[in-house]
Each structure stands twice: as C-alpha cells, then as structure tokens.
Amino acid sequence: MANHSNNTAPEESPVILPGHDFETVTEIVAEIPLSKRFPLGWIGLLLIGLGGAGMLHMALGYLVLKGIGIWGNNVPVGWAFDIINFVWWIGIGHAGTLISAILLLFKQQWRMSISRFAEAMTIFAVACAAIFPVFHTGRPWLAAYWLFPYPNTMGLWPQFKSPLIWDVFAVSTYATVSIVFWYVGMIPDMATLRDRAMSKVKATIYGTLSLGWRGSARHWHRYEVATLILAGLSTPLVLSVHTVVSFDFAVSVIPGWHATIFPPYFVAGAIYAGFAMVLTLAIPVRRFYGMESLITMRHIDNMAKITLATGLMVGYGYAMEAFFAWYSASSHEKFMMWNRMFGPYGWSYWTLIAINVVMIQLLWSRKVRQNTTVLFVMSLLIGVGMWLERFVIIVTSLNRDFIPASWGMYYPTQWDFMTFFGTIGLFLTLFLLFLRFVPMISIFEVKMLLPQSKVKADHAH
C-alpha cells in the first residue's frame, strides 16, 4: 500500500496532513460523540431538520387521510414528484456505496476518511427515497402486499415481469447490504468509544453496539474477511440498483423513456449526484468540526474530479438522447425532444443543461477544485440540476403523449413540496444525529494512513 502513496505526483497533497499520531486521530474523532457539548450551530440545524421532518409528518398524515389526490400528478402526468424524488434520493446514495465498496477493492486510501459518513449518507438517502414509493400507494399499510411476495390470502404474487417489482428487490437489497456494511465497519470504532467513555451509560450503549469487540488478531482477521465479502456484495449494487431504477422507465414504451442508454446514463447520474452530495456535506462538516487535517484538500479535489468525470458521462447521455430522437426517425421521439427543449417545460431542460453540462466544466480548473466555497455552491447546484434531470425525463415525456387531445400540464401542489422538503429535513435530522453520536470518520482506518503504521501495513498487505 505504501507504494501507491510514493507514486503520487509531488504537487499532490497527502491524504491526511502530517502531524497526526494514533492518539490525536482517536481524540479528534472520538471526542465528538463522547463530549457533553451540544454546539449551538448543531442545535440550530437540528431544529431546522426537525421542523422539516415535522412538515413531512404533516404532509404524509394528510396524504393518508385524504388520498393521493392532494398531489398534483394526474393523467396524463401520472408519475411526478413521487418518482422524481425517489430517483433523486436513491441516486444520491450511490456515492457512498462507490466510496466504500469499489474504492475499497481498488485500494484507494483516500476513501478512508470519507467512507463512514458517505455510507451514512447512503442509508439516510435510501430511507428518504423509500418513503415515496410506499406512500404514493396512498394506503401504505397495504403496500406490503403490493410490493413484497408473501403467501397472502388473495393467492396472488406480485407481477414478477414488472420492473417495479425488480425495483423493490433492488432497493431493499441495497438498503440491507448498506446498513450491514456500515455497521460492520463501525464495530471497532464503537469499541474505541466504549473504552474511552467516561460514564457507565455511554459505555453500556457503545459496548452493546461494539458486539464484544476486543481487537484480538482473530477479530481483525474476521473483520477483514467480512469487509471484503460485503464490499464484493456492494460492488455490483453500485451498478445494478440504478440500472433497475432506470428500467422503471426504459422497459415502458413512452417516447423519451424507451432508450437503451438509460441504465449507464442513470448510473453515471447517480454517482455524479452522490459525489456532489458528499461534497455538500463534507465541506461544511470538516470546517465546522475542524477536520481539515483528516478530510484534506486531496479528498475534496478527488471528489471534484469524480464529479466532473461522471458529469461528463451524464452530458454524453443528454447528447445521446437528442441523437436517438433524431436518428430513430420516429416522429413521436422527435416531438418529445422538441417538447422537452422548447415546450412549456423548456426552462427546466435548459437549466439542467446549464448546470450539468456547462457549469461543471469549471471543475477542469484546479483553482476551482481548491476553492471550497465555490465547490460548495456548485455541489448544491448539481443537486438542483440532477433533480431537474428527473423532472425533465418524467414530466416532459408524459405531459404531451401520443394523442394531443389528452395533453395536459402538471403543477405540483403545496403537499408535493412539503413532502419533498420534508424528506430533506428528515435527512438533515438523521445526518446531524449521526455526526453527534457516531464516530463520523473511521478512526482505525485513518490510522492505517499514518507513517507509524506503514511498516506493519507493508507486511500485512
């Protein structure tokens, strides 16, 4: 492993800044969950997050009372905010899995500082995503038999030929593997917290969560094997989950959806949106908690590069969509593209092109990649751009379908917005709780980056 770091170009900054030893790494990370301090900024943000979560509660409560008629989607736009937001959140989660699984298999050391909270982001994003398909049924307590195969009293199984049921399996597998991977990766750090806890209550809680970890050689051996297996399980999920999500569209025969480019185009978009989200979270977190020496400019720079690379793939997807519309010689495909660009929702198409194709070219510049303020603003805009991408794909393909007589406009209602912003509040709440009560950086993995551990690491690997 040491060889890799020797190969890095001289101008590249190190993965973590010098001056750390085993003790300082533990201290800087473990101090946050164990301290008695609740910083004012944290409390303020938590209140905002809880406000959003409360709003989500209201919106969903009213939805259950009234039915999905309170939302704006209706024929011809039968799918709208519910699936836009679902795809948006699921996509965001992909960066966490890519960082923790694929980068692990490729032995990318820089993943170690950011993997823990990127995985947390994945899990919370999947939780937010799951709300939409469950509640868009209008009767979430009945969703069990619409979604999951079990021996029900109707003698019926879900339609296994439908991509919607593949989606259920893809997403629930994804959630399960992500949670297990996240938790297994945390066990050694939970033991660290247990050992450092100053009160019996904390020691008991973190002790329970550490599942009796003692750090023996056998424990570490099993840990390494388990992590490798889980990384192997997660790796195909990075590609498969969003592929299946794209099948929700691609398997249908709607112009603008029925395209073979969809799976890779969706996966690239997911990783692109996900890395933008990791940047959105990492930039304020490292400043707020003074973690600049552990989450360094090297991390920020690398993530910006991946964002650029996947962003360019997404741009290629846009180009191919337009190309197919022309090359297919299908008048419906052509009209769909024209409607997308110059129809009533044209503003959304051009905004997304401005963000996802034009703006991200700034990332070629090293100066931009080193400027966290600019990057933060850009990452937020990318979040908007990727949301608009799903809006464009879904709404503009549906609002003017084959029969002009059935054309119609889609306008979201206040309940659509309350549900969407509510899930952002829920995400914020969960993420703030994670930052406060769980070691946000993998302590033991970052220690492997220290010069002190290099000798051993060379022998071990």
């Binding site: 079990y150 109707m154 019926l156 806890a197 100053m198 009796g212």
Partner: protein, 219 residues
Amino acid sequence: MSQVFPKSANAWSKASVLAIVFVLLGLGWVVLTIQRSDFVTTANQFVEQPVQFSHQHHAGGIGIDCRYCHTAVEVSPSAGIPPTKTCINCHSQIWSTSPYLEPVRASFRDDKPLQWVRVHDLPDFVYFNHSIHVTKGVGCETCHGRVDKMPLMMQKSSLQMEWCLNCHRDPAQFVRPLDQVTVMGYQPAIAQAELGPRLVKEYKIAGLEHMTSCSVCHR
C-alpha cells in the same frame, strides 16, 4: 473503567441473535394464521336471524330442493331470497299458529319483507354470479357446505380470494354432473380425477387464462 458487562452477556447476546430470527419468523406465522382464522373470515359462526329458520329441518329433514326457495339461482347473479309468500305456501296450513312463526305471519299481513341478515357477504368489488356456477356444475355444497346440517345458517368457507382461485385455477377438482348440483353429501360415481376433466370439457369451462383474469370477478 471496569467491565460494563457481566460474563453472562456473551451467552445472552449470542442467544438473542437466534431469538430475533425466531421471533420474527414466529410473528410472521402468527399474522398469516390470524388473517386466515375464522375470527377474521367470520366462517363457522351462527348468525342470528329474525326468524329461527332451520335449513337442517327444511333441506335436510323434509328434503325440499334448494331451488324451491332460491328460485333465481340458475338464471341470475343472485340466488334470490324467497318472498314471505313462499313460506306461507306451507305455513298457512302447518305450524300456522306457532309463536316462532309470528314474524313471518306479520310480514305477510303487513306486506313487509322479512329483514334477513346476510351471511355470505362478498366485498362490493367482487361480481359473483350464481347462475354461471350452478349451470357449469358447481354444487351448492361446494361453497356453502352441508346446509342440510345447519340449524342456523352459517358461512362455511373463508370467501377469501385464494379460496376462489383454488377452484378457478383448477375447476376439475369440484365440478359435478348437472343433475347432482343441489345434492347434499354428494359422492362422485367414478373417481373425480377422471370425471372432473371430462365434465370441464363437456361444460366448455374456460381455460386458466380466462378463469384467472382479474376482470372475470373484478369488473
């Protein structure tokens, strides 16, 4: 800090992993069982009626054919609840002063129908048609059970969709000769495995695709 967990915690934590699996499986089993229980389906429960009419006595004891009262069963979706006049056909002569039958006489006198309590109540989104079943060889008994042994009417089957589909997916298990449809305690003359498919063919009962199509029952 001293150890926070006693030594027994090892055993407890290992046991709890197993326990969680079994509790979850058990919980699933309980839910599925309750869903199919008589408590939920209301099967096998006597239903109080305005008159203590006994199918056991009329159909079993005296041997009146089902269609004497349920006249519409072969021609309409509903088997038909007999008008009070049908009762009075006999009860103007026999048991004409019985206090048990006072509601029947009152109904006849005042020309107000008896308010029977529905026993077999399908959900409103299911369109069940008696005539198609009876004329294609599904016996009364197949769904309603041994009515000739019920002092008060009760539901014998779960009426859940899996129960309907049990026959719709393979009607050969149940169909009988047309002249045996109203017979109680029917036994096929030859093996059902041989008779069933032959009758299905003879009655031209539709294939699986049609019989299990959603819109056959949900229109």
